[in-house]
Amino acid sequence: MDKQLIIRGLRRSPLSKFLLWILPWVALLGLGLYAGYLCLARGLNQTNMDNRFAFGLWIYLDLTIIALGAGAFFTGFLLYILKKDQLKAVINSAVVLGLICYSGAIVVLMVDVGQPLRAWFTFWHPNVHSMLTEVTFCITCYLTVLLVEYAPLVLRNRKLRQIPSLLVFEFHLHKVMYVLAGVGTFLSFFHQGSLGGLYGVLRGRPFAFREGIGIWPSTFFLFILSAIAAGPSFILLTTWLVSKLSKKELVKREVLSLLGRISGILLMVYVLFKTIDTLIWINHTAPASGFNPFDFYSWEPFGTWLLFAEIVVCGLLPAIILLDKKRREQTGWLVSAAFLVCVGVMLNRFVFTIQTLALPTLPFDRFLSYVPSWQETATFLAVVAYGVLIYSLSFRYLPLFPQEKELRQS
């Protein structure tokens, strides 16, 4: 039965081995679901968040995985709108990653809010001035788009394909993919930006507050840039990782190089703007709020090293590596650089979500630390497990890498 579900001509490990692989992840998912249940049934007192750390691990997770998931829309954009056909090799994988990231984020958000049953109020009484409204609307719409994008992939499963109605549906769905890719791009641009805006607009948090253009603070644009820079790197990294784990060649080497190059170019642009933005913040925005920007970095362990790590070590450095053709051709350099890019974007989101809240605003306030509770951590890990499971299942039963068969035969 299992074999009938595997795409013809692809080699997948025996079912027993596969089950053994997913077992720990299922266990982790189960634990996370229990933790999530605790949080829903008993309330958020199960977490270690508090009035000061009102956002914790989960919001960090949301921001990070949505940034990493940006590869889905951006690859779609490059493939369907800019016709970078080479990216066909990774688009399916990108869509799955995107779906995992976004659906994971939304599930966690549902646990994260105190009254999930009232979540729809945002749609009913939207406050259009709130970045969170923008995020909510865009993420929900984009998740729908991602589901629609994922559907053809599922329908191409060997068994499902046998059903004529689904086959026809998939065929036509695939034909309109460029429309969805376009809508997805539009939505993603907005919510990646809004996620940045989420913190950039916080006038009361001078560490995060940024000036900007119109209603959008600079973080709006920087988050878009960093997300689309990191997205391809994340796809590169996952593809490489899956390839290593499955011991199979999945895409042609030049696709990885292309992803690296795209990432490198965008990252360079991002680093440039981020540097400008930081300088403006140091010299203008923060002093105008009445704060000495370097005071923010006087609380150990969050010193200026964090700024350096974020912009130079995980920004400029990988950008240079990725833009260097020679280095890019060496898988070691390429993958390390992609890894640094991902770490960079994670660090950036960490700085905005956690460091912002840890810093005191009131003069008599203290610098606060926060350690997530096991329930939070388990829910977090459950999203990871969920991702691994969805990806593993997709990899096993769906045509994630169109070039795999070809590469196997050559």
Binding site: K3, Q4, R8, G9, L10, R11, F123, W124, H125, P126, N127, V128, H129, T133, E134, F137, C141, T144, V145, V148, R161, Q162, P164, S165, L167, V168, F169, F171, H172, L173, K175, V176, V179, L180, V183, F186, L187, K405, E406, R408, Q409
Partner: protein
């Protein structure tokens, strides 16, 4: 969200935001609507098989889509774009009309009658790229069977699912199914036609068809001098497929293929090989 709901205002920001949102929703819903309508239409007009072949054909590696005229050496390199349906192909029509038909250099006449490269491939039959043969009977019906190459690939099938009499088959649609070792194999229909009688392996043929229109159109089928180069290419493909699984053997000069290849090499991913060879990737 709507006028009348608490919190709704007519201020521009609100209208722009909601306007964009409704547009996005409309686009998504509209697109999905279009997809649904198109799917429904195609499904009702029974284009599923056609679409399936179209998708399968697209999925075939480029090497598997070689034009018959490349096989015969008329082109150095040419890939079929039409799903092996030469009936509407202007180039094919032109080439046939010009009668400049170069014989493939590999063609040898030393074969026994009806035996090409060790396969029993009678020349009076016409062959489909999916390893079915077609023979027009004198009574105007058409017999369809699995060619020797195909038979040897499959060996003894576990199950044969033939269409009922009266079923309309379409070119490159599903003719019948084999089941073997848990794999489900779809055999492409080589022609358009209505099933009037079904046979089986023992009968030596599988289907008897009558044309859907006035006459059976077989322009797209391989014949005569095309068979040998095609078979040679098929052998290559087979070797290639097997090589991917680590079975290195040279079938081309090994003489005839054994009767049941899958029995010979049970450890191979036969499902994939069959998929490759019967054009269902």
């Amino acid at each position: 969200m709507f006028p009348g709901v608490y919190g709704f205002t007519w201020e521009p920001g609100n209208l722009i935001f909601l306007g964009i949102f409704y547009s996005v929703v409309a686009i998504i819903l509209g697109t999905m609507g279009i997809v649904l309508v198109r799917s429904l239409k195609d499904f009702q007009s029974q284009k599923a098989d056609q679409i399936r072949w179209k998708l399968d054909f697209e999925d075939l590696p480029e090497g598997n889509r070689t034009c018959r005229h490349e096989l015969t050496g008329e082109f150095r390199h040419r890939t079929c774009e039409r799903g092996f349906d030469c009936r509407e192909c202007p180039d094919h029509a032109k080439l046939v009309a010009s009668k400049i038909r170069t014989i493939h250099p590999g063609y040898e006449t030393g074969d026994e009658e009806g035996c090409i490269l060790g396969f029993d491939m009678p020349l009076e039959r016409q062959y489909h790229r999916g390893h079915t043969w077609v023979m027009t009977e004198p009574d105007g019906t058409t017999t369809v069977g699995l060619d020797d190459f195909g038979s040897r690939l499959i060996g003894e099938p576990d199950e044969v699912r033939l269409p009922a009499a009266g079923t309309s088959l379409h070119l490159n649609g599903t003719a019948w199914h084999f089941k073997k070792n848990g794999s489900d194999l779809r055999i492409l229909s080589p022609v358009d036609g209505e099933v009037i009688q079904t046979g089986g392996k023992k009968a030596g043929w599988y289907l008897k068809l009558k044309p859907l229109g006035k006459k059976m159109d077989t322009r797209h089928l391989l014949r005569g001098a095309e068979i040998r180069p095609w078979l040679a290419r098929e052998m290559e493909r087979l070797e290639f497929s097997l090589a991917a699984d680590g079975v290195g053997m040279s079938l081309a000069d090994g003489g005839a293929l054994v009767e049941d290849l899958s029995k010979e090499y049970p450890s191979l991913d036969w499902d994939a090989v069959w998929g490759q060879m019967f054009l269902e990737p």
